[in-house]
Symmetry: C2
Subunit: 194 residues, 2 copies
């Protein structure tokens, strides 16, 4: 932390909530910035010495920078990409049943992380999409939310968050696309889009 003219504040406050509690945070919508927001919370949590686990649904077929990004972090962070890409989109060769099997593995893993209380922050990346595509069942996701240990933070990302999930969440953001580079035929760029 530097400040060029030595005009730093007189003191740096350390916030401490009156009550610490684990939150359910949902980041949904059609714009860019859902997975990246979850990854940013992971980085922030690492700074606080928290244990982080990221489970990516439907991702695993296309390399993403965060896979190596988390390896470069000297903190207790784990990322598991469990999927075979976005089910049903053009070019994805896997049948729904295979996507479903992978997503069911991911749900099992999430349940295990929750019941063993093995992390402070658990990110279920793209789970909203996985639910929409019936790769996981609403009852499965609601079961995870209802059994969340009080101190665990749970972050759910992906488009089309289910209303009952929104209802149970503490903080919900909807990311709207105002513009996206791909509409100007700019290819996905490393570091930004993947």
């Amino acid at each position: 932390m530097i400040n060029k003219r030595g005009t730093s504040p007189d003191k740096i406050d350390q916030l401490e909530p009156k009550k610490r509690q684990g939150l359910i945070v949902v980041i949904t919508g059609n714009g860019k910035g859902k997975t990246t927001s979850a990854l940013g919370m992971a980085l922030r949590a690492c700074g606080h010495g928290m244990k982080v686990c990221i489970i990516q649904f439907m991702k695993g077929d296309i390399y993403a920078g965060e896979w190596d990004g988390v390896k470069q972090m000297n903190c207790d962070i784990e990322l598991v990409a469990t999927g075979k890409g976005f089910c049903g989109i053009q070019g994805n060769p896997y049948p729904w049943t295979e996507h479903r099997a992978n997503a069911q593995d991911a749900i099992d893993l999430a349940r295990e992380k929750i019941t063993t209380r093995s992390c402070d922050l658990l990110i279920l990346d793209e789970i909203n999409n996985a639910l929409k595509l019936k790769l996981v069942d609403l009852e499965q996701l609601l079961g995870l939310l209802q059994n969340k240990p009080p101190m665990l933070h749970l972050i759910l990302t992906g488009r089309d968050a289910h209303p009952q999930v929104v209802e149970l969440a503490d903080t919900v953001s909807e990311v709207h696309e105002i513009k996206h580079a791909y509409r100007q035929e700019i290819d996905p760029q490393p570091g930004i889009d993947y």
Copy 2:
């Protein structure tokens, strides 16, 4: 990367854009997930071996987890918190002139990072707010955007992005608050909110 039943995809594709180019990305709106999205892109870019610089406007008076988070990353990443907190909000003791002086330092630093081409991804966190509060001038920010080297990715966060900034950007997301924990009188929680 693990996959419990060995149902990994047959192969992992490595995307490579037909043309690599630096993007201007704006993350604005009133919801949670703007700074964290920028931090997530930083983590992602680190995974790609890119050099990252984060300049935080108006932040520096309250400890944030990302300050230590970036220190734990084994990559070329720098974070500079240049401010004295949110200008004008209740409890902030510093006059506008001091906030302005700090933001002007931050703009000088951003200009230096851009002209010396010393990073691949430059995040100007809360600069939209700083502009709205006249801590920086529109001409200053437009000058940075217009002089951006073609390969540099520039990420601008904060509420109330200026229309001329949106116009120049490639990708713009607006994060809407659907719910926020603080409205239920839940204090900001470490790892999530700071």
